[in-house]
Symmetry: C2
Subunit: 271 residues, 2 copies
DNA sequence: AGATATTTGTTCGTATGTATT
DNA sequence: TAATACATACGAACAAATATC
């Protein structure tokens, strides 16, 4: 069912017969790896799959739907349409993960416990690769929150921008899983439901200190000094953690919205 | 959020019209959160959903399939059957995530860069909660690899057990996302394809040191000393990283199903 | 811009499989 | 064993989207 839907503990005796749909899902997955298909490549069309698997249209469509939800393919209508191999987007991966963590009632403390050790690593791993354009972007983001906000809305925007700052740093890391994890944690923070309006109330501590840290970070990166970058982020996170700790907040019901719309990149045709 | 949530403002110009299936998926998700349905609760049956959404059987089934793949529901046949709310299993969450990271070509270095900072945190967070039974389990696992392996198979089993050791520690952490991440990293290491048979060749360094670290960790946990536990793990990881670094290995092609039941000769199917 | 061909999307009716009683 | 209640699967027809001319 799932790509490597593992082991689905089949309750010892009397395995429930394999469902046709799942067989087809697996068969298509095999087809993908065996033919070495990559993003953009086309699968046989519905009609052919129906013939090939001797299955009905509905069954084949269910299988394709399963693959689509897993982010493996996308399906387009029209001439030259059909199922195309996709690379799962980061956003979708995060949504899927959120569904899992949703039930776990994460706290801010949980998230910061990870951030305080990961963000320094992230900064260090980005330091050798960030370019002047990236540094400029960071400086631009700081400018969003380097002043007192006029109203609650601006205050909220400033808090989001602070998280975006770290998101930009992640873009320059050469460690994909570290970057993904950090960005995911940032997203979780953005999705917090406020028991005590964290992001709305005036910050309990000086913004100046945070901004100084971030400017220091940019300087350290310019000097290509990963150790310094990590140290600065460690201090920054430790301070941020202190402010956030104790706040009650839980994950929002982001649950329902899923990014849909696969990008309309087109103009591709693989026979 | 209300029943008639305007969340899906019908795509003004440009975007393709919302597909019926996706509408139903979202509607069911809304239904779940609005009714506060939890694991084990039943959704309306197929027939009722068909009536409720004025959609055909096939469309409703596609929607249910999508929810099933996301780990949100499971469907059972027979009297009293239907769609039931599920808690996504950790295994499924990991599989879905693997699909995303598969394309990213992770290296061992990438994984250890995270482990070396996360595992110490994990040990610290588990220290206050682990009980004597857990400590005994850890000691039992160590016994699997506290001696020279007889053959390659045992050597491999020993390496897997070393990872399981940390998995047990994760079970006692009170930080769900930290525990999940650490276990996921462990799983990635288990799934490595060997360019240079990492787990098969004799270990390049003494096993004694690793085991000493782990025994020290158990002692520190017994004394309820999180700081010491973290420090020991940091040393342990740093040493392990040294051994693994430089090894070339990539994520395995878990891509295609590895079901419990191994590939029996494929049945031929009439075209 | 409009017509057309191609391909997915949706519906309906029916039959089969499976678990409960 | 049989009856029942439910999902699972099939097939044909029709609707909608979209690339091409």
């Amino acid at each position: 069912m799932s790509l490597h839907d593992p082991i689905d503990p089949p309750a010892g005796a009397g395995r429930p017969r394999r469902k046709r749909t799942d067989e087809i899902v697996d068969a298509i997955k095999r087809m993908i790896v065996e033919h070495g298909l990559g993003p953009g490549d086309r699968l046989p069309q519905e009609r052919e799959l129906i013939a090939q698997f001797a299955a009905s249209k509905g069954t084949v469509r269910e299988a394709l739907k399963a693959l689509e939800v897993q982010g493996l393919i996308s399906v387009r209508t029209g001439p030259g349409g059909g199922a195309f191999i996709e690379r799962m987007s980061e956003g979708r991966a995060m949504s899927l993960l959120s569904n899992f963590l949703f039930a776990k009632n994460l706290s801010i403390a949980n998230i910061y416990e990870m951030r305080k050790v990961l963000e320094p690593q992230l900064a260090a791993s980005a330091t050798p690769h960030i370019d002047e354009a990236g540094l400029k972007r960071l400086e631009a983001i700081i400018r969003i929150y380097d002043h007192e906000p006029a109203d609650a809305t601006e205050r909220w925007n400033q808090r989001m921008a602070e998280l975006d700052f770290h998101g930009v740093v992640a873009e320059y890391s050469d460690n994909p899983i570290l970057a993904f994890t950090c960005r995911f944690l940032q997203r979780l923070l953005k999705e917090l439901t406020i028991a005590q309006d964290i992001y709305v109330q005036p910050e309990p501590v000086s913004r100046a200190s945070g901004i100084r840290h971030q400017r220091d970070l940019i300087a350290a990166m310019r000097k290509r000094d990963p150790a310094a970058a990590a140290a600065i982020l460690a201090a920054h996170m430790s301070e941020a953690e202190k402010h956030m700790l104790g706040l009650q907040a839980r994950l929002a019901d982001r649950f329902l919205s899923e990014e849909a719309a696969p990008a309309p990149a087109r103009k591709r045709r693989t026979a």
